[in-house]
């Protein structure tokens, strides 16, 4: 077994996704480069990856969010950018976890719309979240009716 020496120890990495008609990843990257002091910014096709001290990263994200609050989405990342164990430059093909992001980015517009509509929502209106209907099968009475129809 080899000794493992981690890189970027003590840092956090966050993904910043943008799906907006007004803001592009390039806009966000320019803004992030302007306001980042010591953090590492990596521009990607979907937005940015920001690596650095937890407080610095939080400050940058807080300022980025003000640009387009309903269309910028942030999540933590375990690996730093370019890590050879995850980076597709080394592995080839889609990065592990890419398909999850791809799926959620497909429906993110509905979430953005939901965020935009929150302010107009009536105070006290109870939310009815979408839930999976239990698979109850066919109703017994309906089944009996069908059976009677089949039997002459």
């Amino acid at each position: 077994m080899n000794t493992y020496q981690p890189s970027y120890q003590g840092t956090v990495t966050k993904y910043v996704f943008v799906e907006s008609p007004h803001t592009t990843p390039d806009d966000l990257a320019s803004l992030a480069y302007e306001i980042s002091d010591r953090a590492m910014i990596k521009e990607t096709c979907f937005g940015l990856q920001i690596t650095g001290d937890e407080k610095d990263v939080a400050d940058i994200i807080r300022q980025l969010r003000t640009r387009d609050p309903a269309h910028i989405f942030v999540k933590d990342r375990g690996f730093p950018p370019g890590d050879p164990r995850r980076c597709r430059a080394n592995l080839g093909g889609a990065r592990p976890g890419y398909f999850g992001h791809e799926f959620e980015m497909g429906i993110i517009k509905r979430i953005s719309q939901g965020i935009l509509n929150l302010d107009e929502r009536e105070e006290g209106k109870v939310a009815k979240p979408p839930v999976i209907r239990p698979d109850t099968g066919i109703d017994v009475a309906q089944l009996a009716t069908l059976m009677k129809k089949e039997v002459p």
Partner: protein, 149 residues
């Protein structure tokens, strides 16, 4: 701020919603980060080690496959510190992007067994459901905040 366990643990939408409404999302990235930033003798710390399968015994029985126990060594401690949970029930990408199907089933079972406030919902299929999806998460998190005040 309440620690909210999110399922799927890799969900961008849930992670963002929880942080946006002022709470702390607990997902797999945090466990992975802690793991890869800890120096050790196992290299690279990408796969499960024999030690992880032993740690996982706290949440899964010995006859459960070691892959499930290994994954539970990441999720188990997070589950224990969680004060509430949001579960998306139709997240098919969780099989592959966050773990194996059996780990996911065990995880949902353990969340429900823990008797913490849980919000269960599915991904919105249209704009109207999107509005309700976001509002439900906001209301759930706001009520939690009031409980903790």
């Amino acid at each position: 701020m309440t620690k909210i366990f999110i399922y799927p643990t890799t969900s961008l939408i849930l992670s963002d919603m929880v942080a946006r409404f002022g709470h702390t999302p607990i997902g797999s990235a945090l466990a992975i980060r802690e793991r890869i930033q800890t120096a050790g003798i196992d290299s690279p710390p990408l796969q499960m080690t024999p030690e992880d399968a032993k740690k996982g015994l706290r949440w899964a029985a010995v006859e459960v496959p070691s892959g499930v126990r290994g994954r539970m060594s990441l999720y188990g401690p997070q589950l224990e510190e969680a004060e509430a949970a949001i579960i998306i029930t139709d997240a098919e990408f969780a099989f592959g992007c966050m773990g194996c199907a059996r780990t996911n089933e065990l995880l949902v079972y353990l969340i429900k067994k823990k008797k913490i406030p849980i919000l269960e919902l599915r991904y919105p299929a249209d704009e109207v459901e999107g509005n309700e999806f976001v509002a439900a998460i906001r209301d759930f998190l706001r009520d939690l905040g009031e409980e903790h005040d």
